[in-house]
């Protein structure tokens, strides 16, 4: 099995799906000739031609809005938003149009499409090349929201998203675009949306996380075993909406201790929802407060990126805090 990074896995997913489904088109800024500023669509123009892969004018509402029309017509558009930080001009088309199309038309019209977009910090991108706005989309009924943490999941989740009948916001953690590498099958396979994966089993604490933070969590959890004698269960959610509450609950009922780790700002971030839901469903199992290790409630800073992100030091401190409580 070839080793791929996330960029290559995304590219491979797009290629295998486009081969057997000619209703798929890729559109966005710099996706064709240039192959995307992160090269995720590299080679697709050459392979599938300009009627399947094309550049757009610089307008996110135009990209998503026309993709909605194409989807209504029966195609499967895969618009790319160059950085999720620039998705807001399309916010109305996403939350008021794509997300509500099926509901408001009584199921007569749907818009199956996958909005692919790089997210998160780690590349010294400052305010506008680092954001993690998943919470806006999780709060919006009618969307699915996905964020992989490794190449294998990236390909399987992207194929599943393309085949899904709903609009999917597919967030690609750019920090690990190339850093995360692993075996990825050449051919097609899917990872069911809505299912988390348990990537470590440990008796003391349940760590709920997703995206690039998974790698920091793994590192922190490993250090915590030796240095703090804390054994963690790590749950990589993979799909953020609708998310896999059952996997979380099963683990929390055994550990009774939870920390939630994400890059997005704390206040009204996704961690708040998970914590509130666990409070509703598992209060009596909790041996300590549920702690959130997240980005801070500031714009994403340039120089202090490492301090801003939920790094291993902060994760380990949270692990100690829930244990010592």
């Amino acid at each position: 099995m070839p080793i791929m990074n996330i960029i290559q896995a995304v590219n491979s997913a797009l290629r295998v799906e486009m081969e057997h489904d000619d209703s798929i088109v890729i559109l966005g800024e710099d996706v064709a000739q240039f192959g995307g500023v992160f090269r995720a669509t590299q080679g697709l123009l050459e392979e599938f031609g300009p009627s399947r892969v094309f550049d757009t004018p610089l307008s996110e509402n135009g990209i998503v809005g026309s993709a909605i029309g194409m989807a209504m017509y029966g195609m499967r558009p895969i618009p790319e938003i160059q950085f999720v930080d620039f998705i807001y001009p399309a916010f109305d088309q996403i939350v008021n149009e794509a997300a509500k199309m099926r509901y408001r038309s009584g199921g007569q019209f749907t818009c199956p499409m996958v909005i692919r977009t790089p997210c998160g910090g780690g590349i010294k991108g400052g305010h506008y090349h680092s954001q993690s706005p998943e919470s806006y989309f999780i709060h919006t009924a009618g969307l699915k929201v996905v964020m992989p943490s490794n190449p294998y999941d990236a390909k399987g989740l992207l194929i599943a998203s393309i085949r899904d009948e709903n609009p999917v916001i597919f967030l690609e953690p750019k920090k690990i675009y190339r850093a995360a590498r692993g075996d990825v099958p050449e051919g097609e396979y899917t990872i069911e949306l809505g299912k988390a994966t348990k990537i470590r089993e440990g008796k003391d604490v349940t760590i709920v996380t997703y995206g690039a933070a998974v790698h920091d969590v793994l590192e922190a959890a490993d250090e915590a075993i030796d240095e703090d004698q804390i054994e963690s269960t790590i749950i990589d959610l993979r799909t953020l909406s609708p998310y896999d509450i059952h996997s979380i609950l099963d683990s929390v009922m055994t550990t009774g201790r939870v920390i939630i780790v994400h890059e997005a700002p704390k206040t009204c971030g996704f961690g708040a929802e998970i914590s509130a839901t666990l409070n509703e469903k598992a209060l009596l199992y909790l041996k300590a407060p549920i702690l959130r290790v997240t980005g801070f409630d500031t714009p994403f800073p340039y120089i202090f990126e490492q301090e801003y992100l939920p790094n291993t030091t902060r994760i380990r401190k949270a692990l100690r805090d829930v244990m010592d409580f």
């Binding site: 135009g62 809005g65 026309s66 029309g69 194409m70 149009e97 509901y103 408001r104 009584g106 007569q108």
Partner: protein, 366 residues
């Protein structure tokens, strides 16, 4: 772009010198007239109904029927329409049953939208009539998408989108027309310039000479047409549709018309505009204009017209009476169609509400 807006029928229903009427058979002429009349009577009736509190809200199109129905008639039945919220005439021309229409207004269990949307926010995939959103301009890029998809797939389908003068100020208009220009999408942009965006006159909407001239910003054709002349609207739209179908690109049409009624039943236009202006436009009424033409040319006579009025009155009454009796949708429908499959959290919420409703009435006093 011609200096003068295209016009074939003068306000008095006479054919303008040097122009000929499009060749449309008598049957079709009467069909168009019937739908224009039905549209008018429907609006009048529903505005009354809203006053009586029998429906919650209504948007009329009095005075704009020619621009809506003329443009729709110029399309193939398989072409797509992306409406704003004032184009019930398109639905009627395409044969949307009055009964279903009334069910939407009441939001009952026979409404294909399951009572989820406000009155007038129709949708019909069968008739290729898009799902109406209240958000001004938001449908315009969808028409670009369909016009582009049709082209990419080598199809002949054309997409026409209706929008108002106010909508030309939105970012969605700008993106949609620009994309269509770049891709030569099979799309027609039909701006109903009815002179007002609620209380804002179109002169305050933009400083451009016209709405049609905005086409230059996108390298596409722009044309002005007398929006109260059903023949002129038909001709201009027909040309635009053929051009689009042949892959020769999109057209921006500005139909110059006037909103004779309030913006919606929530509006009181006397607060911001002058009756004199309204009276001036009443003289250009598209329905009366077309009727005079039909009477002059013998396609219609007074007697036939009276029968038609009677028929329409009865159709309306029976559709209304039937629709008003129908039960609301079941509460569970509120949780359906959010996604294609229901997920655990919606299932929980559905059950939670079910328990509450069993426990007692959920009516909330305010």
């Amino acid at each position: 772009m011609p200096e003068e807006p295209v016009c074939i029928l003068l306000p008095d229903g006479k054919v303008r010198k040097g122009n000929k009427v499009p060749d449309i058979g008598s049957e079709d002429l009467l069909r168009i007239y019937r739908v224009m009349l039905l549209n008018r009577r429907l609006d009048e009736r529903m505005i009354k109904l809203q006053r009586q509190g029998r429906i919650g809200f209504y948007v009329g199109s009095v005075g704009e029927e020619a621009s809506i129905i003329g443009a729709t008639f110029a399309l193939e039945e398989t072409d797509w329409i992306f409406p704003c919220y004032r184009e019930v005439g398109s639905l009627l021309l395409r044969g949307f049953p009055l009964f279903e229409l009334c069910c939407q207004l009441f939001g009952n269990s026979q409404d294909s939208l399951q009572g989820r949307q406000m009155p007038n926010h129709y949708a019909s995939s069968k008739l290729r009539f898009g799902s109406i959103s209240s958000t001004v301009g938001s449908q315009i890029p969808h028409a670009t998408g369909v016009g582009l998809a049709s082209k990419l797939r080598g199809m002949e389908d054309v997409a026409l989108t209706f929008f108002g003068d106010g909508a030309t100020s939105t970012g969605d208009f700008h993106a949609a027309v620009n994309f269509a220009g770049v891709y030569k999408a099979q799309t027609i942009f039909m701006c109903r310039n009815n002179q007002w965006a609620i209380s804002v006159p179109s002169k305050a909407q933009t400083a451009s000479e016209s709405m049609a001239v905005k086409a230059k910003a996108y390298g596409i054709d722009g044309v002005q047409v007398d929006g109260n002349d059903v023949f002129a609207v038909y001709e201009v739209t027909k040309m635009a549709a053929e051009k689009a179908r042949q892959g020769n690109g999109p057209t921006l049409i500005e139909a110059i018309t006037y909103r004779l009624g309030g913006h919606t039943t929530s509006d009181d236009p006397r607060l911001y505009r002058d009756d004199v202006e309204v009276e001036r436009w009443e003289k250009k009424d598209p329905l009366l204009r077309f009727r005079s033409y039909l009477l002059d040319t013998g396609h219609l006579n007074g007697e036939a017209d009276t029968t038609l009025e009677k028929e329409i009155k009865e159709e309306l009454k029976s559709a209304l009476d039937k629709a008003e009796k129908i039960d609301p949708p079941t509460i569970d429908t509120m949780f359906e169609d959010v996604l294609d499959d229901t997920s655990w959290h919606l299932e929980e919420q559905r059950k939670e509400l079910g328990r509450v409703l069993k426990a007692g009435n959920s009516q909330q006093k305010t």
